[in-house]
């Protein structure tokens, strides 16, 4: 790249251009002053503070946040809940609900035939899942008599009733396979409990 190498006269041009200082033109400041006046905002005392230029965004954001907090504190409460908010003591016990011990369990669901899809039989689950209903009963600590406890009103429990019968499909009718052979499945090994119940 001989052509691109800097030649001696170019080095001199570079040195002269870099070091040369032009004379000051007093008339040039008039144009600069016009430019400064016509282009707000010029550099000012607030320019160095980042928050001074960000207050336009911070102020509305702060107002929105304060309004949201005020609404959360002062939002209207339904009349049925007024004055009945529970106060937790941290000592509530979980006790069995004696009234609901006789509720049905899944094991009581009888087996029945599927009328809509003959051939598909719903069977009851093989495993019984005992369900023990619980309810939370608040207990009072006699050591703290001065603390006023606000408890929710005692709501009557709903009468015991049978759970809706849930039909759980556990078998699906097998479609004949289109391949030339049929795999033999050992149903006794796959479902021993079902066979035992029959």
């Amino acid at each position: 790249m001989k052509d691109e190498a800097q030649q001696p006269w170019e080095a001199q041009v570079r040195r002269v251009v870099e070091t040369h200082e032009f004379d000051y033109d007093p008339a040039a400041w008039a144009g600069m002053e016009q430019l400064l006046d016509s282009t707000p905002p010029a550099a000012g005392s607030n320019a160095g503070n980042w928050w001074a230029s960000a207050w336009k965004w911070l102020l509305p954001a702060g107002l929105i946040l304060a309004g949201g907090m005020w609404w959360m504190v002062n939002r209207p409460v339904a009349p049925s809940l007024q004055g009945s908010l529970p106060v937790s003591t941290g000592k509530e016990d979980i006790q069995p609900d004696k009234d609901r011990e006789n509720d049905a369990t899944l094991s009581e669901i009888p087996e029945r035939e599927n009328n809509l899809n003959p051939g598909i039989t719903y069977i009851k689950p093989v495993r019984t899942i005992p369900v023990t209903p619980f309810r939370i009963v608040a207990t009072y600590d006699p050591g703290l008599p001065a603390v006023k406890r606000v408890l929710p009103p005692e709501l009557p429990l709903l009468p015991a009733r049978q759970l809706p019968k849930v039909l759980m499909p556990t078998t699906v009718k097998q479609e004949p396979m289109e391949v030339g052979f049929k795999r033999k499945r050992n149903r006794k090994a796959l479902f021993p409990e079902i066979f035992e119940s029959y």
Partner: protein
């Protein structure tokens, strides 16, 4: 102590940060002559160069809060002036024109005029170059950029940059020699 062009850079900078117009004028006066050379070697006339310098000073006054003491203040202002000049060149279509011109081939400048070159003559000859050649010459020879950087800066190819540098050299040599001969004859 009153603010003047003789004040230190730090004093001027602090006063300008407060919006002191006298400090801005003092800073302008102090660096006018040094910074004007940057747009002068990229533009075709002095009026355009002065307009660009004012734009650069406006940018300097606005950017003063961002200045960190990591480098020299004069160098920081030179960088801003160079960027403002480059932005101007990118916006002006005439610096990207691609017409070709026939230039007589020259190999080296006359050795008699080496050492006789004066700043005013050099700036005048540089400004006589076509815009699209002057930009490449100044970027490569004076500011030391490579062709790939020049190509990216002004939106041309690397080969075009090389071609323009070659033509600019030839034209500038001819202009400097002619300028020397004219001065010699007039003397």
């Amino acid at each position: 102590m009153p603010i003047s062009a003789n004040s230190t850079d730090e004093e001027l900078r602090r006063a300008c940060l407060k919006g002191d117009r006298r400090a801005q004028q003092a800073l302008y006066q102090k660096y006018y002559g040094k910074l004007l050379g940057i747009p002068m070697r990229y533009t075709g006339n002095q009026a355009e160069a002065k307009d660009l310098l004012n734009q650069a000073f406006l940018q300097i006054f606005r950017s003063l809060p961002d200045y960190t003491d990591s480098g020299s203040f004069a160098g920081w202002m030179s960088t801003i002036t160079f960027r403002v000049t480059m932005d101007h060149l990118r916006m002006e279509q005439r610096y990207r024109e691609r017409y070709r011109m026939e230039v007589p081939e020259r190999t080296a400048i006359d050795s008699r005029i080496e050492g006789q070159l004066e700043a005013a003559d050099i700036f005048r000859c540089i400004q006589q170059l076509p815009d699209y050649l002057r930009v490449v010459f100044s970027l490569y020879v004076i500011d030391g950029y490579q062709h790939k950087d020049i190509a990216a800066m002004i939106g041309i190819t690397t080969d075009t940059s090389k071609w323009r540098l070659r033509k600019a050299r030839q034209l500038l040599q001819a202009a400097l020699e002619q300028d020397y001969l004219n001065n010699d004859q007039s003397a």
